[in-house]
């Protein structure tokens, strides 16, 4: 195989059948594990279940919206479904997906470390996540919640008679899971890099996880504070936000978005990290403008804290603060644009492979670009007045969250799947699924931009008849999308037993994770690796290959 590398050759002597999966057996060896790889698997199973649950709610909504009348679900049920779709997808899938699954598994290996800095805290993160998930599931089973995932007051504190307290408690607990993960990653990246692995030799996935972790650590406590205030107001009537009690409902929106806008970057920054690693691996090239891409992650993390009030342009803020937040919102788009252009430029004179992870990432770049530029429409405050709170916004953030984060998550899952399981997924099926996801996604969400501009407000159970054509298109797209997501669940599980065995480096990629066996041994490396090459140093790899062939 021409994809064999220096690292493959090195491994021949050290090859062993023992790995993190067969090292120990029994349920307790998983539930009490401190191995970051096993914890990543626990997360993989949990977030996958939550994704299916959130997807079920979405599908029911789309079927309801086939016709203008609210005829399938009652209004209350519909309202609960869009609320729980949002809560489940954001708090239990999008935020943990890439960091807690892919980050947990790959980050320590990319650093040449044996584990994260605090393995027990890592396990605690998962238990907190599960505790939050159980509270969330109890809420869903006992009747659900209907406030929208944003919990706007005074509706959430005084008017809703659903399980607001339980849901916010679940969000509160889940927040600590992400704070601890962020803390763990930051310390690990600072303290546990292999000898020779300087900051500028780090894969861009690590830079992205670092930026994400900073945001998790600084923003999530604000969510905890906000939700605590909300719970206190709802439970005992202390007037923080309810005007009838002397509070201010707009204050709630400021506090909520002070977390929840940075949370958007918690969701998209890891996706950008995956994109950089996958683009490099499947072009066999160093990412163009490595330092620009690395620092743009930090710039996004920083600027992401300064734009929260762009969710409030019609909510009753002053004209001048609207202008300031509009200005800052335009400039948070610059570092994202830098990344898109750099990924594109990397393809020039590259060796572009059309394997599944790359297909997902090419799709990611396209969809994220649409998600990004439609953000400019919303940052233009004179135009935002018309399109905010309509389907235009729904389309915009799904292009970023699903077209961006979910596409990149799928890319990363396929890219690292051979490393995680030691098996290859079936390439043909995977390409088909990637294509279905891309087509289905666009058919679902592109019509919603038009729908929003025509004036259909979001969170509508029934709608005016002239909106039907676009809604039917959207529901048709959602059906294609659903098939595109169900396929990988089937063939990935199949591949665990029946997939072709993967070598240590099936892609011929550069990076420490590809120098150890697949699946990796419990301690990741038999000897601590010493790094003498830059990230994505394909020319050096080529040279090394030449040398080994000469031996």
């Amino acid at each position: 195989m021409t994809t064999a590398t220096l690292h493959d050759v090195r491994l021949v002597g050290a090859s062993t059948n023992r790995n993190y999966i067969n090292d120990e057996y029994g349920a307790l060896s998983w539930l009490l594990t401190k191995d970051h790889k096993r914890i990543a698997i626990l997360y993989l199973i949990s977030v996958s279940i939550m994704f299916v649950l959130g997807g079920f709610f979405a599908m029911m909504m789309r079927i309801e919206l086939l016709t203008p009348d609210g005829d399938l679900l009652t209004s209350d049920t519909y309202n609960k479904f869009f609320t729980m779709h949002g809560v489940v997808m954001i708090f239990f899938f999008l935020i943990p997906a890439i960091p807690a699954v892919l980050g947990n598994f790959i980050l320590p290996i990319q650093l040449g470390a044996k584990d994260l800095a605090f393995p027990k805290i890592n396990l605690l993160s998962w238990y907190l996540y599960m505790a939050a998930a159980v509270v969330g599931l109890v809420v869903i089973i006992t009747g659900g919640v209907d406030t929208g995932w944003t919990f706007y007051t005074p509706f959430s504190t005084q008017y809703s008679n659903t399980h607001v307290f339980g849901t916010t408690l679940a969000g509160f607990i889940a927040g600590f899971s992400s704070i601890l993960t962020g803390l763990n990653f930051i310390v690990t990246i600072h303290r546990m890099r292999a000898p020779g692995l300087t900051w500028y030799r780090l894969p861009l996935f690590v830079w992205a996880m670092y930026a994400t972790s900073v945001v998790m650590l600084l923003a999530t406590p604000v969510l905890a504070i906000t939700l605590t205030m909300l719970m206190i107001e709802r439970a005992v009537g202390v007037g923080f936000f309810d005007p009838a009690l002397g509070g201010d409902p707009v204050l709630y929106q400021h506090m909520f978005w002070f977390y929840s806008h940075p949370a958007v970057y918690i969701m998209i920054l890891p996706a950008m990290g995956v994109a950089s690693d996958v683009v490099a691996a499947f072009t066999r090239k160093k990412i163009f403008g490595y330092r620009f891409v690395a620092f743009s992650s930090l710039a996004i993390a920083f600027l992401g804290f300064l734009v929260w009030a762009h969710h409030l342009f019609v909510a009753g803020i002053s004209v001048y603060s609207a202008m300031i937040f509009s200005f800052l919102s335009f400039f948070v788009a610059v570092p994202s644009a830098i990344k898109v252009f750099n990924w594109t430029a990397t393809l020039y004179r590259a060796s572009v492979s059309w394997q599944t992870p790359m297909l997902y990432i090419l799709g990611f770049i396209g969809l994220f670009t649409i998600g990004g530029v439609t953000g400019l429409f919303l940052a233009s405050i004179g135009l935002d007045i018309h399109v905010t709170d309509t389907y235009f916004v729904v389309a915009h953030f799904h292009y970023v969250m699903v077209g961006g984060t979910v596409m990149a998550y799928m890319a990363g899952l396929h890219y690292w799947w051979p490393k995680i399981t030691g098996r290859m997924y079936p390439e043909w099926w995977a390409r088909l699924a990637a294509l279905l996801v891309f087509v289905g996604f666009n058919l679902t969400f592109f019509p919603q931009f038009i729908l929003g501009y025509v004036g259909m407000p979001r969170r509508y159970h029934a709608y005016a008849p002239e909106f039907q054509v676009l809604n039917v298109l959207s529901t048709a797209g959602a059906s294609v999308l659903a098939v595109g997501y169900i396929l990988p669940i089937i063939y990935l599980v199949w591949s665990i037993w029946f997939g072709r065995k993967a070598g240590p480096n099936p892609w011929g990629a550069v990076g420490l994770e590809w120098t150890t066996s697949s699946p990796p041994p419990k301690e990741n490396f038999h000897e601590t690796p010493v790094v003498t090459w830059d990230a994505y140093d394909y020319p050096a790899m080529m040279k090394a290959m030449g040398e080994t062939q000469n031996v």
Binding site: I370, G382, I385
Partner: protein, 322 residues
């Protein structure tokens, strides 16, 4: 007919509509060009440089670093332009013309109530004259709502316990949607209505329909019923400040700060009078929180706004008059 079944944007029925649509179209052109450019480039590179036996490894080529400067600088300049355009429009949309027709709106789960100065009241329906600026003063009786006129390209959140204003000038007669755009509970999607834009003459005819008197005169009756007039006499001797000419004027408070007597000031002074006491007066007014409905508050507001005329000497403004 096909276009009607598959609309790309709603009719332009207000003075804002064309401005908003122009910015929208400009953004589609600029962003569309960038997005399509990125797609085509990716597609072209991904095909031209696809992996083949002769390029198993990429060429050792770095594009010029000048590109980085270019794609930071050019988007920044475009963003500045968009920022200025969007802000100009927002600023314009937030400045209510002085000669606007006053209409009052109350949102509650799940209906819109409108009151006209002449006293007409309507639910989930609003009649306005064409080619005349209309200012809507709004409050919510319960949760946050958002009054959305897609054909006028404007909306604003309606908050409990606080007045907000929005305005538009309809340019085309017809019947257009009113939506609630902020999720407000069970029948959020049923909190809808129609705005009828009428020729001026038709609007006058519509206004001539029977009412219980103008909002201001109904407000005056409330003013007496709540015994406001025992203290707020229209001369300098009252225990409360004279209200004639108050609306829109600067008021000096007992703390020395000067505030503008706008809708929210008047509202607060009725519901929570101790919050801002006018200089020279005792904080003796009782609170009316919970006693006056939103609709009645708007009538009182309309009455206070209707009290024009010279301000007698030695009254609320004695601190600032010469």
């Amino acid at each position: 007919m096909m276009v009607a079944d598959f609309p790309l944007w709603p009719d332009q029925a207000s003075t804002f509509a064309r401005d908003v649509d122009n910015l929208y179209i400009f953004l589609i052109l600029v962003c569309g060009t960038v997005a399509v450019g990125v797609f085509l480039t990716i597609f072209y590179f991904a095909i031209k440089f696809r992996r083949r036996p002769d390029n198993e490894l990429a060429q050792d080529y770095e594009p010029p670093k000048l590109l980085e400067v270019m794609w930071i600088a050019i988007p920044s300049v475009i963003f500045m332009g968009l920022f200025v355009w969007g802000s100009w429009l927002y600023f314009h949309m937030s400045r209510v013309p002085d000669d606007a027709l006053d209409i009052y709106a109350t949102g509650k789960q799940w209906m819109w109530k409108f009151q006209h100065p002449t006293g007409q009241r309507e639910i989930n329906s609003l009649h306005v004259p064409v080619n005349r600026p209309v200012k809507i003063t709004m409050a919510s009786e319960d949760v946050i709502h958002s009054l959305f006129f897609p054909y006028f390209r404007t909306k604003a959140d309606v908050l409990p316990n606080r007045y907000r204003t929005m305005w538009f000038q309809a340019t085309k007669t017809g019947r257009y949607h009113i939506f609630c755009a902020e999720y407000c509970g069970t029948l959020h999607s049923g909190m809808i209505g129609w705005v009828d834009v009428m020729e001026s003459a038709d609007y006058q005819k519509w206004l001539a329909g029977g009412t219980e008197g103008s909002m201001a005169s109904q407000g005056e009756q409330l003013f007496q019923r709540y015994a406001c007039n025992t203290c707020h006499t229209n001369d300098a001797g009252g225990r409360g400040p004279v209200l004639a000419g108050l609306y829109g004027r600067d008021v000096t408070l007992s703390t020395g700060t000067v505030v503008k007597a706008d809708e929210n000031y008047i509202r607060e002074s009725i519901l929570n009078p101790q919050a801002k006491t006018v200089k020279g007066f005792q904080p003796i007014m009782p609170t009316f929180q919970g006693q006056v409905s939103e609709d009645d508050l708007m009538k009182l507001l309309a009455y206070v706004k209707s009290l024009t005329g010279p301000i007698p000497q030695a009254t609320t403004t004695k601190g600032v008059t010469q």
